[in-house]
Symmetry: C2
Subunit: 247 residues, 2 copies
DNA sequence: CGAGCTTTTGATCCGAGTCAATCTTCGTGG
DNA sequence: CCACGAAGATTGACTCGGATCAAAAGCTCG
């Protein structure tokens, strides 16, 4: 169990290291966190809007998303999650969950009791600061998504989402040569970009015929990275990954 | 100067108290923060995307907004700011500013050096947690705005924004009887909701003729609060203001 | 092999954008 | 106190990006 968790949480440590060096002592404290590690099927909710969780999730393998629904049943995905992400870290400080979080692919998720996280934050204020920082980066991504959804055309929106996922996956070692796993459905891209499924499909085909993406069998490749970035109006600054991008 | 700042920072304390009781010691530490208080005209940028500030702003009087621009010059407002808000608190942890922040009306702004904020966070971890919490609430608001922009019709979007502003202003004592100051222009509402100015104008007129709002001379009133909430699909849970709403 | 998803395609429609002009407001200077 | 100019609010006419509807074609997996 212990050895399993130590290797399993590697994406988690890697994600934190995208923002700041993690010392050996910090690393061993992180590895010592009590964590219940569970395999979870695709399309399962981990938590739901209105919950008052007493633990946080860490996505260790697989992909997920955060979403909200309007009163009349329309869904907006507010974030995609990749390995290493703590999608509900906010629940440590905010009792009430204002959104739902689910898996998009078969996943491995670690659950850490709030208590244990509070303890490690108390003992290691530097780690608390890194956790804070990850939530601030999430907020920065939300701002960029608002710009994307509110002020870019459909074609550019979809390109932007692909750019972001490639860069974020690259930061946790899950992309190479502008190529990565991409298990999200077009329905999910539609709900993330605020357009309809049919139109997402058309934009993806336009991106294909422009030679900007290859998307087949759950894999995405960007044969023309500069072109894709230009199409998405993508500037990675908002991801605050100086360290990871420099590497 | 000291007495000026102590009374001037009242909205700041009040905002924090919307989320948690502030003890007397915490309050006096907050009042002792070195703060340069400045009057600023309307439509001035406080900070710009790309800056690396060494201080944080507190909006003490007046209204502001955070915004980002696309490469081709379209603006998305990602947040409105009311007295008490710290619109760039994130800069304490994230070097690079990923958005611009400006005033919308004549304002009074306090500037607090990062150093001083880091010091108070070190001495009073409980206050650090409250600061973290305010940034998490901001993120929650971003998620709700994404839902608003991505999945609600123009009429409902505009209603939602009015609901949120009424509740937030009420929380800092700046609204009564569902009525508050409302200095934002229709251009700003357009850039906040992701629609065009012309269409915002039409939606506002629809809201008026539906008897849901009275908007004149920089004042907003909601004669039919339940109706406006219904129109906006507004549920204040995402504001995480149990304390303020209960009061 | 068939059921149930996704993805794709085509046809049609509508919410909202754009353009252009006019009307208000409001602050400023004479 | 009033004329003037600038910015915001309003209105109308026209256009278009993207939604909706419906159906067909691929995939995946029990």
């Amino acid at each position: 169990m212990t050895s399993l968790s130590i290797s399993a949480i590697r994406p988690f440590i890697r994600k934190l290291e995208a923002f700041r060096t993690i010392s050996d002592e910090e690393r061993s404290d992180l590895e010592a966190l009590p964590m219940q590690i569970t395999e979870i099927r695709a399309d399962q909710d981990l938590v739901r809007e209105g919950d008052r969780p007493s633990r946080c999730c860490v996505l260790l393998r697989g992909f997920g998303h955060t979403y909200k629904m309007t009163e009349d049943g329309k869904r907006q995905i507010t974030a995609f999650h990749v390995p290493g992400d703590m999608p509900d870290l906010q629940s440590l400080e905010l009792q009430y969950l204002d959104c739902s979080i689910g898996t998009c692919s078969p996943s491995v998720v670690g659950f850490i009791p709030h208590e244990a996280l509070r303890e490690i934050c108390r003992l290691r204020p530097q780690l608390a600061a890194v956790f804070w920082r990850t939530t601030l980066v999430d907020a920065s991504i939300f701002r960029e998504w608002m710009l994307n959804i509110g002020r870019r055309e459909a074609f550019n929106r979809v390109a932007h989402v692909f750019c972001e996922l490639l860069v974020r996956l690259n930061a946790v070692g899950l992309a190479r040569n502008h190529s990565c796993e991409m298990p999200f459905t077009q329905i999910e891209f539609a709900d993330a970009t605020g357009i309809s499924t049919v139109h997402v499909n058309r934009m993806i085909q336009d991106l294909r015929s422009a030679g900007l993406i290859v998307l087949r069998g759950g894999m995405l490749t960007a044969p023309d990275w500069a072109g894709l970035k230009a199409a998405g109006g993508f500037d990675p600054g908002y991801l605050h990954m100086e360290r990871a991008l420099a590497a």
